[in-house]
Symmetry: D3
Subunit: 238 residues, 6 copies
């Protein structure tokens, strides 16, 4: 099945927190969006085993996206050829125009690994002639696919970004984002650190930098290309 957008993250709730508003906005604009979590986030700190997988599906419904949870092992994710192939295979099957990953490192090793796996999986997806390489068996039956754009949302648990490349106004979608996050009951019900409040404060802070109530920040690997500067929206102080 074809999707316009594929978004990859290490754990259920990473994407919802990092770019739930943007995903909901893309869905509302008529795009088909698939969230891919490379692990099921187990063993989780709280809650019964595997609760998070169900919550992730529930969160996806709030945002209007499809979701698939792969069988990577939380805590042990590494950038390896099989991991790259898993990402490449999904890209070749679903043939998206835009791919998202999460970016940020320094705390959880899975997060750095995820970024590398996505960058490399995107590259593997576009290469032809994998049938001439042994490791290419993992892509059997698929055809090479070149995406249009690769963007990264900020993985919130990690160090603050020094800068971002663009922000998306998600004010209208904010209730839906909060509803998606609320689906992760086992993660946030014991939340002594007030994580949800903090995520909200960050979205509001990024919003304040561009003059809207709530915004989500993104980075790109290649420079941004616009048809004309007029596609860039009004911001706080020009």
């Amino acid at each position: 099945m074809a999707f316009d957008v594929l978004a990859f993250a290490a754990h259920p709730d990473d994407l919802d927190v990092a770019m739930g508003g943007t995903a909901a906005k893309l869905v509302r604009a008529g795009l088909r969006v698939l969230f891919v979590d490379l692990t099921d986030g187990e063993p989780a700190r709280y809650g019964p085993p595997h609760a998070r997988r169900d919550q992730a599906l529930c969160a996806a419904r709030q945002l209007g996206v499809e979701r698939v949870v792969l069988d990577g092992q939380d805590r042990l994710l590494i950038d390896s050829v099989p991991a790259r192939m898993a990402v490449a295979r999904l890209i070749r099957l679903h043939r998206p125009r835009i791919v998202f990953g999460t970016e940020g490192s320094g705390v959880h090793p899975d997060h750095q690994a995820l970024t590398d796996i996505v960058v490399n999986g995107v590259f593997y997806a576009r290469l032809p002639n994998w049938d001439r390489v042994e490791a290419g068996a993992a892509l059997e039956g698929t055809e090479s696919h070149e995406i249009e754009r690769l963007f990264f949302a900020r993985c919130r648990m990690e160090r603050a970004w020094t800068q971002f490349d663009f922000a998306v106004d998600v004010s209208d979608e904010y209730p839906r984002k909060l509803a998606a996050i609320a689906a992760y009951e086992s993660v946030f019900q014991h939340d002594q650190a007030n994580l949800v409040d903090r995520y909200r404060a960050e979205d509001q802070y990024v919003g304040s930098l561009v003059g809207v109530p709530f915004a989500e920040p993104f980075r790109a690997r290649s420079p941004l290309l616009v048809e004309a500067p007029t596609v860039l929206n009004r911001v706080a102080f020009g």
Copy 2:
């Protein structure tokens, strides 16, 4: 008279070289664009006095923009209250949505001054109650105006930028940009440094970074805000 876009530079030919393609593209899209040169570029290295002013008007016609040349003194431009007021006054009179300046420093002092003057002139333009400040007399008869976006094109004579915020594909407009530059006969006819070739190579290099034949790079002071990531065009490697 209202303009959609005002662009400021220190010398005739600065804007043509830095963003001639983008200006032509905006004009083609139906926007009204005014180029403002703060000096007439005299005394020039070559050519009869004041030749450059006529050439600037000729170049403007190639691009489809209007142009005005102010009476600042080339070489001696500084960020002063009167200079800021001159910019603010034009913004209040023409009430643009977008303002452009040039950015880049380290070689010609006028270029650093120009950037400061534009940033500060934009701010002065939006402030009310200038009638209560003596220096505000320069704005008499005008009303405060807040622009939507402020962008900076790369002043080509200056040090290379370490990064830019976005690029505009100007491949279709490139012949018009070259024609505008060619209008500055007195500047480029003795061009032992092959300046025009170099400007072209830079536009082609920036293009190569985003996968198009020719592109012009821009910086913003505030973060970029987009309605959705889909407004960002396809680039070379995602």
Copy 3:
């Protein structure tokens, strides 16, 4: 009269918003703190002329600091010898251990000027033998004074900082900071941009980076020197 801390800003409300919590915390710790606004912020966008000066004094009382408003002209502040001397004179008279300024530029020209004036005023304050320089007459009757540390709070209206050097937990003082900001009725009562909400979101965001409810960020010009790493508090993820 001696103060332990002098803090300088361009306009009333700049310091309250940028470091009101830290100021209140220093006062609670028994230090004597003086806020110095180089202008009275007039002509203001809203409210009767000079309302802001009274509001500034009221805000100071909320924080427990003393306050003086100098007669610089809002909008026209520049780094000049007389401005540096005004700062130096106050430092020599009040002989603080710590000086604060605000940092941030790109929007309001007064803010860049303020940073330069404070850096240079601090340096002028420590120099001896001003009686041998004509401009030194402004310091007559004062003795040179060398402060211990110079810090900068983030001027909130300006571009986001890429990084800061340290943060201060102001959670306990937050109600007092909000009360001080609320004193600026003429500024915030017509606040269609929800400025107070945004300031609060930023303090909460900075707090989230270090694991506390609210924090204010600071920069230094010299590297930080600590007696031992144990003086640095616990943060979110080590």
Copy 4:
């Protein structure tokens, strides 16, 4: 046995050179400090096999720290799950408040690996429920432990840092640091590159940046949080 501080490095002498003064200062302040070398530094350039292990213990005595040398292989250190587990296990057993590693890369591959292993080991140490993951067997019999702060000392053999987050005045402890370094006879007796002189010059240079005779520089992964700016010491020019 509980330690207040655990410090990890790739090779004996790395910690002594990078943060010997700070370690001695923490010991003098009554904290219990454990140095952990992940390899014994063999095969060494000079000296009989295993001489360095004995020298490391001797150096530890000079500083007043405890020391353990693990059985990693010098030159072949990589960031792997078992290496992370070895660090996590020691953190869970000794339950320190502060952990130090060394940072710096570009010359010796062990040094980059060490930094990653420490960051990831610290994270593994705090996670619960390792009994549900096969690799978690390495942590059997230990309980999760969350440290308060993670700092990095500069690995001297590597490229210069562009900046550091804070420095510690180690002037009073300097003789002890030199004595500890001197314990590595086999490393420095053939020292044609005058390494000890160079280390001393760097400590003196960092000291000159903050106005003390000798200082050691550190970096953190999270922003610094202070109770108040008054905990930051006087420096050279404020």
Copy 5:
């Protein structure tokens, strides 16, 4: 056989494009230069299998360098001990004064791996006593060798560099560089992206930054040391 210069890259054509002009210049100056490609670039996008190896040898002849193609697998290059050893072994055998690698990442995973392999291989080459480590068997029969300088050329397919450390004027060698690139017929004959034009534009752009027709940019890991500033050539604006 001794070489003055060894240059390593992941794929045939990487070195020719990144530093073909500089290599030709070094050859003309009488130095012996060896290009080492860690893979044969197969499976290639176009052309019969193994065509690229022959083209690489042909390109080498154009530049006047020797060339060897190792048996690494394109797409699957990783920084591993055996890969480091392969580089170290060649360095020990050929005993160069200068080593080059390519630098740049974010698109093709082989390129990041190559940079790491070269840095680490250079380090392994200089270490003595590998006979005491099992993995050291790969270096049997060789003696340790310490190079004088390590430089990196820009891998053109990757993200733009924010800055470079020095450029080499390759204007006189440019025809030879173009001839070498032209040897890769199977790569460039179907070149819908006009890669050769883009490479040329980048060399011309870098040249424009230093005031010559064509230049190639380089980075170093250690700071540059010059006998005197007079060895640095005249550039565009000083």
Copy 6:
């Protein structure tokens, strides 16, 4: 009289400390070097008025350079048209190939001003047709001159540099540099801050980064251009 090198600084002793070794090396290589101090450093902290001018001449003799002290006012230096003209006039008269200035800011306002004055003075020197501008009278009787290279030495009193562009080995000239510094008796005899020791530690630290006993760091405004990488000397770790 023609000089090969002109070096500008704000105060006597700035150049001696920042680049005394490099200056002595250039002199030894047969180049004619002129030091220009824009002020006489008065009123000085210690010593009788004007002592420093004599000391500066004495220091110049130690280094083998010529020296001239202009009549700018210490503490009040600003980047103005007359200041730029003073620099431009000297450049046009002495027609150097290389110009040096000092760089560094954040403490003494004269140091930032000096950098700007030199950059702008170099540019003014190369412009023709000053007779058509009123301010150009200051250059009467001189002819335009374009230098080959502009470099900046590190002003030691200012904040540490995050990086430098190249270093010069001044080990052989170090005794001469120390002798030149020693000439400033009134500055250093009351030196409670052990300034000379600190300067020496910094030169030794920079030396340690490139593998020589003492080195001085420099920055350039334009990228470095070398005839070939072989002009770059061997450094510590390649």
